[in-house]
Chain length 398, copies 2
Amino acid sequence: MTIDKSHDLFRFELEATDGAARVGTFYTPHGPIHTPCFAPVGTQATVKTVTPHELEELGAELILANTYHLYLRPGAELIARMGGLHKFMSWDHPILTDSGGFQVFSLAHMRQVDDDGVTFRSHIDGSEHRFTPELAMHIQELLGADIIMALDECTDPKDRAYNEMALRRTHAWAERCKAAQQRQDQALFGIVQGGIFPDLRAESARFLAALDFPGYAIGGLSVGETKAEMYATLDALMPLMPADRPRYLMGVGTPEDILESVARGVDLFDCVLPTRVARNGGLLTRHGRINLRNTRFAEDPSPIEPGCTCYTCQHFSRAYLRHLFKAGEVLALRLATIHNLHFMLRLMEEIRFHIRAGTFPQFKEEFLATYSLPNQTIRHAQMERRRAARGWDNRGQG
Amino acid sequence: MTIDKSHDLFRFELEATDGAARVGTFYTPHGPIHTPCFAPVGTQATVKTVTPHELEELGAELILANTYHLYLRPGAELIARMGGLHKFMSWDHPILTDSGGFQVFSLAHMRQVDDDGVTFRSHIDGSEHRFTPELAMHIQELLGADIIMALDECTDPKDRAYNEMALRRTHAWAERCKAAQQRQDQALFGIVQGGIFPDLRAESARFLAALDFPGYAIGGLSVGETKAEMYATLDALMPLMPADRPRYLMGVGTPEDILESVARGVDLFDCVLPTRVARNGGLLTRHGRINLRNTRFAEDPSPIEPGCTCYTCQHFSRAYLRHLFKAGEVLALRLATIHNLHFMLRLMEEIRFHIRAGTFPQFKEEFLATYSLPNQTIRHAQMERRRAARGWDNRGQG
């Protein structure tokens, strides 16, 4: 059934549901996106360590690039002169750019927000810059992604007073972004904010729905609140999100967060998790995450995950991969990235299959039963510490 | 014409000559090697940044791995238990291992040489180790490469007294290596030493030829002597090397050194140059080396080398590659490595073509006329300094 054909270039066809979970297709100028979809993160116009050709072979349909990083280096004007982001990075499929807001609020230095915009200093060289809704749109139009984001103010999700104030600004900025949009070949998404407060989320969903965006993002989750708070916020919010538009949960997430969010009606995801943990030796398997730096893998002749069909598992043992990590070989980062992206993209494929088959709840339950959550949280913290100590370039998001 | 069938597994068929330059095929248990051949260096059981699949696609037939590095980490016994080096690194084509001698004499700490062997401390953890000819053979038999090297003593090529003394040891060790060899599916090469002294080189060639190795290496060149000294040494030595066996010039080299050495009858080469300079932004072109970090490439939409058919040149601009290098993205290292290996392997293909066609001298002259030597030497020194300052893992050889 086609729910909405009003946006010709960006129509969203909802094809099947299983409870609140949905399967659909979002059409863009660079091809269709089959939802629920996971977008690998290519912060600096590259999904770290892999080529566009490998991403195609892995079945990635959509990638994310970060406006903040590309604006600072090499510059959006330069990318526009080189023919736009697709041509620059040789990726002829859909791209999504964020507005730069999240990075301004999390990476940049000495930021000052006012109703008109936000002034900040570059994390690279300390130079001063200013983003306004109009400039965030202009930069994203120079980059030329298929899906672009309104500028929003990112908050501590638990601070009520701050969220009330920031929400007014985010809504005003959404209106200004819509008014500033000039290119018609880009889908501008509004971003629902409101922290963990159901009434603010509801207000935001209503306000943005009235502006009739071709898609809606959910911002400000998975940024410090508990899992229970995140899921409760989605429980309250999702029924209020327009059903005929794609719903994009920004910066999420882990396999378990994706399953829980799909169950609540989310269609699009992006997250640095699979690529970032890969570069720390963290490999995703159906039985949770393992770290290949561990001594117990030193003479393990089996692949990362027996039965996995990715290039890495088809050709290399855990023992060899551990050797590459211990020896500091960059090939390790890449082989691990390939496996983790394969894992996430196959997971999305299975999710779509089970929603169509009406077996998504059972699939989700079975997956979560074997994917051991507590261990993983501990390992994640350990890996983040090791990563910081090791100093491979991790300043980006991907 | 088949010159020698006495070594069944390792016969060398000489197929064409042009002056002293020769085209042939060296047969190994893992496939034929078409000579003149350039072997990419995979120090730690990986040609840095690229997969075995990519090496195959690039047309690499032989790769080198370093016994010293693999002995220290992950250990030759471990690799043997994992099925040997070919299986461990998923490379089902010919491999050559050196004896470890060169690294002991260049990388290891506090080495002490005596007639029986050499004691040294690991550059990784300072632990003490000892190589003897017998142990160098044992380690290489555990690794299981197709071509293995006798242990030799590496010298300052200009020190006459040291070379006289070391040569006696190198010859005695060559005899002991031959006696210690147990596996018959590995070709053990003797290594001709003697510095820049024609009489010592002649003595070494005669001594080793009498031991009837299936192939001969030339050690101790391109390690500090001038180009003129290196070429003069080859001029004196090459006519004395057995014509019916492959001749391997270790650690060489630059495109111009390879052309000059092929012209004097060398068949096999290995060198870290194309892979190491790639990781510094140094790209090989028919008009010399360029460095992509240079500002003049910031908005250059052309590929590294117009007309080049490598994956990198087919998909990416100099502007994009420069962006990746400036942003510290590891994909930069890999895309540059692919181009440089493609450049070297296509050069070897052209060399073989022109020897068969009888046009090698003209090809060499034309190539060298456009490949600007003086600039390059200066750039090389600059890049080596920058590399040292930047601190990507360069402790290996590859």
